[in-house]
Symmetry: C2
């Protein structure tokens, strides 16, 4: 089905809330309340996001989480990677010596191109785009040149 996990979806909802709210610091409980996502899940997600540096955590009483960067600076690719790990459409594209058949496989190199295309697509949309309405005049444009894909 080529879909993002529910957790990633939740993460966008939750970050979207943080992007829209004025106050800087938000406790996990507050976010859970505001978004309707179960508290343990919110905690888990915020921990993951903090670990990837997308949000900053403040411990102790009156603590909470705040966005590390402006919503415009956080891309959907960042969020996906924080929750799901590296964006790699096929096993083979993760590393050179992962796949058994890599010796007689002509396809791998070309998957890289597709991977790159997907990543570029996700990088070109920001949290701000998600949280607020994308303006109808906007056009997303990607260009992936094959030359640049020696690796990754």
């Amino acid at each position: 089905m080529l879909r993002l996990s529910k957790l990633t979806d939740y993460a966008t909802v939750l970050l979207g809330y943080m992007a829209r709210a004025k106050l800087e610091i938000h406790a996990a409980v507050e976010i859970a309340h505001a978004t309707g996502i179960a508290l343990p899940t919110v905690s888990k997600l915020l921990k993951l996001l903090a670990h990837s540096g997308l949000v900053h955590s403040i411990r102790g009483a009156k603590g909470g989480y705040c966005l590390s960067h402006a919503p415009e600076r956080i891309s959907v690719a960042d969020i996906v990677q924080a929750i799901e790990g590296p964006i790699a459409l096929t096993e083979c594209s993760i590393s050179d010596d992962y796949c058994e058949q890599s010796a007689h496989c002509d396809i791998r190199g070309n998957w890289r191109v597709i991977n790159k295309a997907m990543r570029t697509a996700l990088e070109s949309v920001s949290l701000a785009d998600l949280a607020f309405k994308i303006k109808p005049s906007t056009a997303l444009e990607f260009k992936v040149s094959v030359d640049s894909l020696t690796r990754g």
Copy 2:
């Protein structure tokens, strides 16, 4: 991890073989042999691909499968959809009334843009690109205008 299923990966390998081989008709056993993928899996995949019209099946002795279209005419998006179903990154993007929170959700419309971007990326690479080397001079280029996204 945002990845394609192994089955989809196998499907590309298998279709890649069919694209490169000269003979038109290939029995499932032959393909299994040539690609090293287990026969039952190959059968299952070819059935799915036949159901989506990407390959044509000939029953009975001397039967087998052949590509329905030239490799240039088959996109990676077609293959993914044949095996995994519709490309929809989030539940919400599948249909209007699927998600409980859709009433107070500002994010859904914007996911559509991302979806479209991903689909466009996958549509712009053909089976021929996968099966043979993509020429280094090639540049993949996508442009997704938000205006065009009333639905889908």
